[in-house]
């Protein structure tokens, strides 16, 4: 028995981005959805395609979308954070107290809001990464804890004493039409895309998300990375708190109640795998636009806000289910065409 041993050929090194990959990507599905929202919105309401309406509506979803950017990274690394809305509430309260009792100006208030958010995130990060507690347990706990602190201090009351320079943040427009929060969201989206898909940190993030132990054995500082991501997510919630508080001009303990689910919906609709290791920031940004403009279309048709969640629920399940169903049918089709022996 003789077998010739041919010299090993070089493995081909195809480009990492291919046309085929793009065509099969989640982003394409989302762009399709976005187009459908625009077509449907335009058909159902003459005011939908009004550029001022469109841009003005971005102020409402940009705060949620900011948190979705941070949460996407947390979920890619196999963790979860459901305390963002409570961090937002606590940051908002601390800014309110600082304004009410210390009479601080806009800049220190913003810094205090961001710092509170980051600090809360660092608490999550410490419990998860240093003590090794499961993220879901930690953030269920801090979700109650952070909002509980806010409620304990403020009770049923509210704080509406903010300097005008601060509330102006919520009413500023670039070129007189683009809300500041949307501008910041778009800029940060670019930063997050670069961070996630073009840096060493991003590579480590996907290594960690796909195999935490394998990443650790490969020399990735996994615990530090997880701590950083929770802190970053807290910081993003602090930033969302700045925009939301400024836009409302007041704060209450039940501010942003239940928003964490909207954030996670955005992340999952954007194609981030809930079991970690997979996802893109562009997907999350597109998902934010889809949900945001869908909300505008629904609102313009005088449908109450509560009904909107029916649409987002259907959208989420449908957009995940359709490719799976499609694959099954494609497989059956292939089987049927298989030559019989």
């Amino acid at each position: 028995m003789s077998v010739s041993h041919e010299a090993p050929a070089d493995l081909p090194a195809p480009p990492t981005l291919s046309v085929g990959k793009i065509l099969r990507s989640r982003e394409l599905v989302l762009i399709g959805l976005l187009a459908m929202v625009f077509i449907g919105g335009n058909a159902s309401s003459p005011w939908f395609l009004d550029i001022y309406n469109l841009l003005d509506s971005t102020a409402i979803f940009s705060e949620i979308a900011l948190m979705a950017l941070g949460t996407a990274l947390v979920i890619i690394t196999r963790d979860i954070d459901i305390s963002m809305a409570s961090i937002l509430a606590l940051s908002s309260l601390v800014m309110g107290l600082a304004s009410q009792h210390l009479g601080l100006g806009a800049v220190p208030l913003v810094l205090i809001g961001l710092a509170t958010g980051a600090l809360c995130g660092a608490v999550n990060g410490t419990l998860v990464a240093r003590l090794g507690m499961p993220a879901i347990v930690v953030t269920i706990g801090t979700m109650s804890l952070f909002r509980g602190i806010a409620a304990g201090i403020l009770g049923d009351g509210k704080i509406a004493e903010f300097p005008t320079a601060f509330t102006a943040i919520g009413q500023s427009y670039l070129f007189g039409m683009i809300p500041l929060s949307f501008v910041v969201f778009i800029l940060l989206s670019v930063v997050f895309v670069v961070l996630t898909h073009f840096t060493v940190l991003g590579r480590n993030l996907f290594a960690l998300g796909n195999n935490p132990e394998g990443a650790r054995y490969s020399g990735v500082r996994t615990n530090r990375l997880r701590f950083l991501l929770f802190t970053l997510n807290g910081l993003m919630a602090g930033l969302a708190a700045v925009f939301l508080t400024a836009r409302l001009g007041s704060t209450r303990p039940d501010i942003a109640m239940g928003l964490e689910m909207e954030v996670i919906t955005m992340v999952v609709l954007g194609g981030v795998s809930i079991s970690g290791g997979k996802g893109t920031i562009t997907g999350v940004v597109l998902a934010a636009l889809v949900i945001g403009f869908l909300r505008l279309a629904v609102t313009l048709n005088n449908v109450p806000g509560n009904i909107l969640i029916v649409f987002t629920g259907l959208l989420l399940i449908g957009s995940v289910a359709l490719p799976i169903i499609g694959e099954k049918y494609a497989y059956l089709f292939k089987l049927m065409r298989r030559p019989r022996n």
């Binding site: 493995l11 060493v200 054995y217 490969s218 020399g219």
Partner: protein, 511 residues
């Protein structure tokens, strides 16, 4: 038992082809199993054994070919369909439920019910007792699975196959995690099953097992059928030759290199839980072997050195005379010390990621420019090591999980050697891989020391250690009990120290 030529086989595969993304995993494969025979399926990693098993059990659909059960062409669309045709597989890592009882495990998926539709526990318990008796397992059926030893759990898996009324039982490396005592018991049961008229497909890397238990053999190489016949008519040498396609030397490729100055010095390492007072010195270009039974603390010492242990330790580690104070594994890698772990799937690689990603990750610091990865440098590195290790894949962008076990192991070795280390710690590098891949690993070890590397080799295979190492340290229950230099290696003595049959050598002075 060549009398089966005229009877209809229980299962017959003919002309099976299976293609995964351009890789021909099975090529015109055929295989027959008759009632009352044990067929050994032999082949290297990547030869297509697992693919064949998955095709037979309905987990994979062949691209073409015919499967016949008792002469009838069938389509095994799902695992359930396969089990209804009487084909059951018992996998390497048993797919049982630790927290459930033996009865629940045996009847999972096909429970016995009363006419009312409720579960008939009494019937299941008594039936389970019968099956347990047939596999010589004398425990109560209500015992929780986690209370059993691995060997006993395996018997439960076989009992489960019996309860499914399997005609064909496929055993995928059933002895991998069993003690020699348990292996003997398994043989008895296999013989019993054979006498009951079952057909058994036995997959193993170990030739002594194949010759001990099988009646016939089937050899696969590179996804293709190479040959079959009666075990009584072949020698081990013939089988190896068919399997590898060339002559494999039984001589270890140990090369004469000049051993240099002390490089890695470890002094009185203890962590109070896993190991105590471990001291040794690894010299430049030396292969220092660590032998011991499972649980002797060898891997734990290595993980402590690499800052991968969850427990803090006392003692000193010096690399090239400089105290090493590594906080995380990455520090050790930066210093030129790498650890190739035993557990390939969980620790050795990040399976869903590409070959390029995997090879680049441990070298990231060197390859990247600051925070920016350099993809073309990664491609060059992946291609270079793909060539050196002869990794077989469609491209360097292929996920490692799509590769065969042997090629995965090559990626695992390649990704750490690509960091350009001075010291390589290899933990059981040949566990669960076949002869061909084994000799490739030994060749790689020999080449490492030729290229100025120093190696700590943790292994449970004494021949491998005696063949490759310059010195062997024996560990038992977390302590070093003996040390041998190449001139006075003795298998009997080393084993005696490892098992505790001999009292530890008096403590030597630490070099």
């Amino acid at each position: 038992m060549a009398v089966h030529e005229n009877t209809t086989p229980l299962v017959e595969l003919e002309g099976i082809n299976k293609i995964f993304g351009g890789i021909h995993a099975l090529r015109d494969a055929h295989c027959r199993i008759h009632a009352g025979e044990v067929v050994a399926l032999v082949g290297e990693n990547g030869a297509g054994k697992s693919t064949l098993v998955k095709t037979m059990t309905g987990l994979y659909q062949p691209n073409s070919g015919t499967i016949r059960v008792k002469g009838q062409a069938v389509r095994l669309a799902t695992a359930k369909a396969a089990s209804e045709y009487g084909i059951t597989a018992i996998h390497q890592e048993t797919t049982l439920f630790e927290e459930l009882s033996i009865v629940e495990n045996i009847f999972m998926g096909h429970p016995r019910t009363k006419p009312s539709g409720l579960l008939d526990w009494a019937a299941m318990r008594s039936e389970a007792r019968e099956h347990l008796e047939r596999v010589n397992l004398d425990v109560e059926p209500t015992t929780l699975l986690k209370q059993l030893s691995l060997g006993q759990q395996h018997m439960v898996a076989i009992a489960r196959a019996l309860a499914e009324a399997a005609d064909v039982v496929i055993m995928d490396e059933p002895t991998a995690s069993l003690s020699s005592n348990e292996i003997e018991k398994l043989y008895v049961i296999i013989e019993k099953l054979r006498d009951l008229g079952k057909g058994i497909l036995f997959i193993s890397h170990k030739f002594d097992e194949v010759f001990r238990i099988a009646d016939r053999y089937v050899v696969f190489r590179d996804g293709a059928f190479v040959g079959d016949g009666n075990i009584a008519e072949v020698t081990e040498h013939d089988l190896v030759k068919m399997m590898v396609g060339r002559e494999v030397g039984t001589v270890f490729p140990k090369r004469a290199v000049e051993i240099g100055a002390p490089l890695l010095e470890v002094a009185s390492l203890s962590n109070g839980i896993e190991f105590k007072d471990v001291s040794f010195t690894l010299h430049k270009r030396e292969i220092l072997g660590f032998y011991g039974l499972v649980g002797a603390g060898r891997s734990e010492v290595m993980r402590a050195i690499m800052a991968l242990s969850p427990y803090p330790f006392t003692g000193q580690i010096r690399l090239d005379g400089v105290p090493a104070n590594w906080k995380i594994c990455g520090d050790a890698i930066d210093a030129g010390v790498v650890y190739v772990p035993e557990d390939r799937r969980n620790q050795g690689a990040i399976l869903p990621l590409s070959i390029r990603d995997n090879i680049a990750l441990p070298s990231m610091k060197r390859l990247a420019r600051g925070i920016w990865p350099d993809k073309s440098a990664e491609r060059r590195l992946a291609q270079e090591y793909g060539r050196v290790f002869e990794i077989r894949a469609a491209s360097i962008e292929q996920p490692v999980e799509d590769l065969s076990g042997g090629n995965q192991q090559k990626v695992v070795l390649a990704r750490w050697l690509a960091t350009n280390p001075d010291v390589v710690i290899v933990d059981e590098p040949t566990r669960g891989i076949d002869v061909g891949a084994k000799s490739a690993v030994h060749e790689a070890l020999a080449e490492m020391v030729e290229q100025d590397l120093s190696v700590l080799l943790v292994s449970s295979e004494l021949p491998e250690l005696m063949g490759m190492a310059d010195r062997i340290i024996v560990m038992r229950l977390g302590e070093m009990v003996a040390e041998f230099t190449r001139d006075d290696f003795s298998a009997e003595l080393i084993a005696a120290y490892a098992t505790g049959a001999r009292a530890p050598q008096p403590a030597r002075e630490v070099a």
